[in-house]
């Protein structure tokens, strides 16, 4: 029992036990956020740095609140990803921050593998808050937590992940995680954004959203970025909407108690119809709420959770 990793870089290398221990810990953490005094002294004296090289409000503030509810001190750095030619290198930036003796660095970066690179020369615990198109482990964990909360299980559920799979770190982390927990994962999207190579990740690939919707338990919609259109991944938003928007009509094909998820921020009426996003089946705001509990659990397991058996 226990979580023995120094960093949280991704889901791919976590075991099923690791994942369950994070989810179970998060159950206990969720209770704290319901109290009048939403704070425990667990990480008193610990310093956590939020180092964000990409704009983010949701993930950054979620980590910030998580750290604060555990009484850790948190510093926020929002920087523009420095290119090779201008500005300080990532290595120098991180080494400077490390000189301030933090206990953990939470890093969000536009390049895949940046947190892995940082972990090769850092003393601090590194938490990946999203790297390029690679992984976003805490998002997948909070998604799993939400699914478990709503469906009481994950194994055997038919879970659709829909949209720009190719560029999505949320999709990758969810594929790894949901596979480990035994879900039936179906990816849906236009072929350029969902190349057939994804089948080798042990998931089903579909380009027919209507058909894929049948009997779905969970519909996880991904944000579609308009920039992709410029790179010829699909012809137009109008056509994308035609084929891959989650509409009321499509939703009806799923199981009646299917839940709708989205990592945010929403493009209303692009990947998801606005009435669907606001329907009773939507758990999008619960995802946000659960994000805090998951991130508290991750911080606790990495920074605080080690102790000898209490002697009395």
């Amino acid at each position: 029992m226990g979580f023995s990793h120094k960093h949280l870089l991704g889901i791919q290398h976590l075991s099923e036990d690791d994942i369950l221990s994070i989810l179970d810990t998060a159950e206990s953490m969720a209770e704290i956020s319901t109290r009048e005094v939403k704070k425990v002294p667990t990480l008193r004296g610990k310093t956590v740095i939020n180092l964000f090289f990409e704009p983010s409000t949701r993930t950054r503030s979620s980590f910030e609140l998580a750290a604060k509810r555990l009484s850790a001190d948190i510093l926020n750095f929002s920087l523009q990803a420095s290119s090779v030619t201008k500005g300080e290198s990532l290595r120098d930036t991180v080494l400077n921050l490390e000189a301030m003796n933090p206990d953990a660095i939470i890093i969000r970066h536009a390049y895949s593998g940046a947190p892995h690179f940082v972990s090769t020369f850092c003393r601090s615990h590194i938490i990946n808050a999203g790297d390029g198109s690679h992984e976003h482990p805490t998002q997948a964990l909070l998604d799993a937590f939400t699914i478990r909360q709503e469906k009481k299980k994950i194994k055997g559920l038919k879970i659709l992940i829909v949209g720009d799979i190719l560029h999505s770190r949320v999709a990758r982390s969810n594929i790894f995680l949901l596979n480990k927990l035994g879900a039936h994962v179906v990816l849906v999207g236009p072929p350029p954004l969902l190349p057939s190579i994804f089948t080798s990740l042990n998931v089903e690939v579909s380009h027919d959203f209507d058909k894929a919707c049948i009997d779905a338990d969970v519909l996880m919609m991904l944000r579609i970025q308009r920039e992709r259109q410029e790179k010829y991944f699909f012809p137009s938003i109008r056509e994308y909407r035609e084929l891959y928007t989650l509409s009321k009509k499509r939703l009806k094909k799923a199981k009646p108690d299917a839940i709708i998820m989205h990592p945010g921020p929403l493009n209303r009426d692009v990947e998801i119809a606005t009435d669907v996003a606001d329907s009773v089946q939507s758990v999008i705001l619960k995802q946000v709420e659960n994000g805090i509990a998951i991130r508290m659990a991750v911080l606790y397991l990495l920074l605080g959770g080690k102790s000898r058996e209490m002697s009395d």
Binding site: V84, H116, I197
Partner: protein, 427 residues
């Protein structure tokens, strides 16, 4: 001025020689080759238990000078070459400024002469500033000493320019070497597109990016009734195109690097920027196809694509790192250990691909063969000695190798250029 190399196993693929012979060197040339040459009063090198090969030639090196002397200079690159067993290197034109005019070519030759180590043969640009818009003054460049043309680092992107270059250069009898890459297909890719790029979330460079241009170049060479050379071939599909072209009698040649034969894309799991090369490390199937093509003799030459970069440039996020790895000081030992000592490739084929053929492709007179009157450029190889790859001991300025810590059996023992020992592993 005389020197005798005694008792070596002399292998010269050009003449089909593989025998224990003595070689007498006089005035920088090979004066005599016989089973026994009298050795009194002559400086003698005991080559018993060593292989004596015609000097190895790396037809694809980046020396970075002029312009990026922080990465490498003609001097440090030449030292690295000598240590790596090379008597000649051909350097690519992507310097600052680009080697697209006789002035830069002459500068490189002058600096190389000052170093007085290995032969440096400049490859000039196909197009001005390698921008694929205007042809360089090719005849002028040849007069200045350019041995071939390439826009390496970049492809000759414009098909019309490529066609005209192939046509125009015909009377010059110099090879056009193309870095085959359709940049619009590579887009912002940083590794081979496939299972592992999907897993690691890195942007992929598809095989098609190379194959589309290999096919184009083959077609253009056929129509122009001339030859073309594919630099650092890396995919199974390119091998297929090469085989088809050869069967049709089209004069297309190709080179392959040791790293494309030995490393595959699964290794990028660590996001180690010393595995970031162009073309990218492909998958195991591609590796197998390349090796097969080497064994068949379909691929003509080995080349290092020695691409030095500073540690700071490589010590960054994977996307931000420049493409390329150090190659001169590891290539020979890698191939000897992984292929020759394991009997996958004969010593003769190894020498053919790293000396005989590069000399022929680059039209280097008196190189790539051991015969009376040829230049006394020789590489002595020790197949029994092991090396440990330690970048801190590199002569090159750069340290960007993925082979750190590899133990390899077989090493260059001595490098002789024009009868002069420019490197010796002996104390």
């Amino acid at each position: 001025m005389k020197c005798l190399i005694k008792n070596g196993r002399v292998i010269d693929p050009a003449s089909g020689t593989d025998d224990t012979l003595d070689i007498l060197i006089e005035k920088g040339k090979i004066a005599e080759i016989k089973s026994r040459i009298e050795s009194s009063n002559i400086r003698t090198i005991d080559a018993s238990r060593l292989v004596v090969a015609p000097g190895l030639i790396d037809m694809h090196t980046h020396l970075r000078e002029p312009g990026r002397e922080d990465k490498e200079t003609i001097l440090t690159g030449s030292r690295a070459a000598a240590k790596g067993g090379f008597t000649s290197i051909a350097c690519m034109p992507n310097t600052y400024p680009v080697n697209d005019n006789a002035g830069v070519t002459r500068y490189i030759l002058t600096e190389a002469r000052k170093t007085n180590l290995v032969n440096v043969f400049p490859i000039a640009a196909v197009s001005k500033n390698s921008e694929s818009r205007e042809l360089t003054d090719m005849a002028d460049l040849v007069r200045a000493g350019a041995v071939a043309f390439s826009d390496d680092g970049l492809p000759v992107a414009d098909s019309q320019i490529m066609r005209r270059a192939l046509e125009y250069s015909k009377p010059l009898n110099k090879l056009i070497i193309d870095h085959c890459e359709d940049m619009s297909l590579s887009a912002n890719g940083v590794m081979h597109e496939g299972f592992y790029s999907t897993l690691f979330g890195l942007n992929g460079i598809p095989s098609s990016s190379e194959e589309v241009l290999v096919a184009r170049d083959i077609i253009l060479a056929e129509k122009a009734e001339t030859s073309v050379h594919i630099a650092h071939i890396s995919t199974k599909g390119s091998v297929y195109l090469l085989r088809r072209a050869r069967e049709k009698g089209i004069r297309v040649s190709a080179e392959v690097t040791p790293h494309h034969l030995l490393l595959d894309d699964s290794l990028l799991e660590t996001y180690n920027t010393n595995l970031k090369v162009k073309p990218p490390l492909r998958n195991k199937e591609d590796m197998a196809a390349l090796l097969e093509a080497v064994k068949e003799g379909l691929i003509d030459a080995f080349a290092t694509d020695h691409a030095p970069h500073t540690p700071d440039e490589k010590n960054v996020e994977f996307d931000n790192a420049p493409f390329g790895i150090n190659g001169l000081e590891t290539a020979v030992s890698l191939l000897l250990d992984k292929f020759v000592t394991k009997n996958i490739l004969s010593l003769e084929d190894f020498i053919r691909m790293f000396s005989t053929n590069p000399a022929r492709l680059l039209r280097l007179e008196g190189k790539g063969e051991i015969k009376k009157g040829a230049d006394a450029d020789l590489t002595l190889l020790n197949l029994r000695k092991e090396i440990l790859v330690d970048p801190n001991k590199f002569e090159s300025k750069s340290r960007n190798t993925p082979f750190t810590g590899w133990k390899l059996k077989g090493r260059p023992e001595m490098t002789i250029v024009g009868g002069r020992i420019v490197y010796s592993a002996r104390p």
